[in-house]
């Protein structure tokens, strides 16, 4: 019973973090939300995978958060200003979008539970919530960092569901590499074009 309650709390945390990721204008807040989201995902993943494999996912997630955070920290804040001119107008729209995601999740969870026996409601709900929020996020932005947040959110949601049906070490490892690769690719895209050409030539 306690495990069930903690799992529902994890789903609640996911709802909060994915909402913050969708509406936040401050990249620091988004990075923090992503880090917390990985903790909640870790809990749901360990419902079906051994603790060690779940930990691998958590550590990978935090490594991605660290890579993105460190990269963004070293960049000027011009991107923030550009985003803030747009975001306030869309904030309530985004909140409404999250409501839609929540309603879809609530409607789809029982159906998926009957289609895939053995999965708990919390795992399905948490997974669908993250996939939905991630897709909504991807549809709302073309900013590099936010696109990476959206993709990581979708992947986390998928990994929660997939952990329940596939427990192969190889898949867990490859998914971890994919997450890490996404973080590194995101960091690369963030720093690309920020250094003057002369400086790069000097370094070479």
């Amino acid at each position: 019973m306690a495990i069930e309650i903690v799992s529902w709390i994890a789903v609640g945390i996911m709802l909060a973090t994915s909402t913050v990721l969708l509406i936040s204008r401050d990249w620091r807040m988004s990075i923090g939300a992503l880090a917390v989201q990985y903790v909640a995902a870790f809990w749901l993943v360990t419902r079906h995978l051994p603790f060690v494999m779940g930990s691998a996912k958590l550590i990978t997630g935090w490594m991605v958060v660290a890579a993105l955070g460190m990269t963004r920290l070293g960049l000027p804040s011009a991107g923030d200003e550009k985003e803030s001119a747009f975001l306030p107008r869309g904030r309530w729209f985004r909140v409404t979008l999250m409501f839609v995601v929540v309603f879809v999740t609530a409607g789809a969870t029982p159906r998926i539970e009957s289609a895939i026996p053995g999965l708990s409601w919390q795992v399905i709900a948490g997974s669908l919530l993250l996939i939905g929020a991630g897709v909504a996020h991807l549809g709302m932005t073309s900013d590099t960092l936010n696109v990476i947040f959206g993709l990581l959110t979708v992947l986390t949601g998928f990994e929660i569901l997939y952990a329940a049906i596939e427990s192969s070490i190889l898949v867990t490892g490859l998914l971890a590499v994919t997450n890490l690769g996404l973080g590194i690719a995101g960091s690369y895209l963030l720093i690309a074009g920020t250094s003057p050409v002369e400086e790069i030539e000097d370094e070479a």
Binding site: T144, V154, L170, V171, T178, Y188
Partner: protein
Amino acid sequence: MSAPLIWILIPFVVGFSILFFLHQRFAPLIAGAVSAILALIALIFPIDTALLLGSISIKISASIQFFGRSFALNTADGPLIAIIYGLAAMWFFGTEASGTANRFVSLGLMIVALLTASIAVEPFLFAALLLDMAAMLAIPLLVPIYQKPGRGVIRFLTYQTLAMPFILFSGWMLAGVEASPGDVGSTLQAGTILGLGFAFLLGVFPLYNWIPMLMEEASPYVTGFLLWALPTFTIIFALGFLDRYTWLRTSPQISNAIQFAGVFMVASGGLFASQQKHIGRIMGYAAIVETGLLILAMGLKSTEVVNITFLLLIPRGLELAVWALALSIIKRKAYSLRFSEIQGMARSYPVAVAALILAHLSMTGFPLLAGFPSRLALWQELARQSLATSFWVFVGLLGLLIAVARTLAVFVMADEKKAWEWNESWVQTTMLGLGVIGLFILGMFPQTLQPFISKLPTLFEHLGQ
């Protein structure tokens, strides 16, 4: 030694070593030589068969265990590996002539190794993860560190990443469908999810908008390489699905859906190509048309599916390589590749322009060129099944033909007094010349491909048997 070590680990390690330890000048030569040697080994030494060389017996074992799963390359994979590494060698040797950054060869070799792993991994549906990793490895190639990433590369990353969950999940669902084939609901869901996954991977209409964008933003040579490598392995992966699941292979609805997606890509790609004023974007749309033709070939209700698909795949590598190399040479002079900037360049870059036009004509299926035999074979099969589909394929290829006529007109639109010049280097001229000769050989003597193609259907147990 095992086959996955030779054709996956070694090129990956070589690529990694070139990236960090090797002098840039020798990188293309070494990567090209390694790829050529790997292609020759695949051609000469049959996998999993003992070969007696004097008193020495050599046997390349087929599989290797890795984290509880296996990577296996069988005897039937030999010709395919030879083709892949042979074409990769051609791309790497052309790097210097194209003036592309040398990290292309190191990352390119690692990408080819990962993609080869995607055909070796068992269960085969885990290939989706390796394809995604290969796409991520391509990001530093597409965006130089001094250039802001454009929308094309972000979309490329997004679509390739989104494809992976769809395919992995559909693989699990397909196993359920196989157990209870009468369940229409599950079948429909699994088919839809699988279709979405491949639509993202292959860039099926309307998800191909990143291709022309990338051709505008990134190096044409690098983008050309990706447009060759990623769809090639994705098509082999998709053929694996068709081969593995009987209901996918036999369902007329699935076949129709595949053909519809293919014909939409061919027709729309051709029509859009005919409207472009940027020769890079035209190449992007031509690649879309080519992918559409591959999808159409996969959807054929015929035993010739595998033969026609590979007949399309092999010249595609050569056509794209020649086209991309010619574009790279022209781009050094005319940075934006818009019609306004390339006007009259036939007089200053005659070899590059001729090679570009011939590669383009080959993609339209012009007689005597490499693309002709495959299109003829495809058309023959299509005409038996649906005249409407054949007509729309004709419309798409006509669009490409209009694009080549417009491109040629712009290239030769020079002042009459302007003298002819030869600005290509001897390396560029040689590479382009060899490529063009290859286009003619494959067009006039398509039977040269027969030794490779004849063995490829054995890759698939049920498809085309």
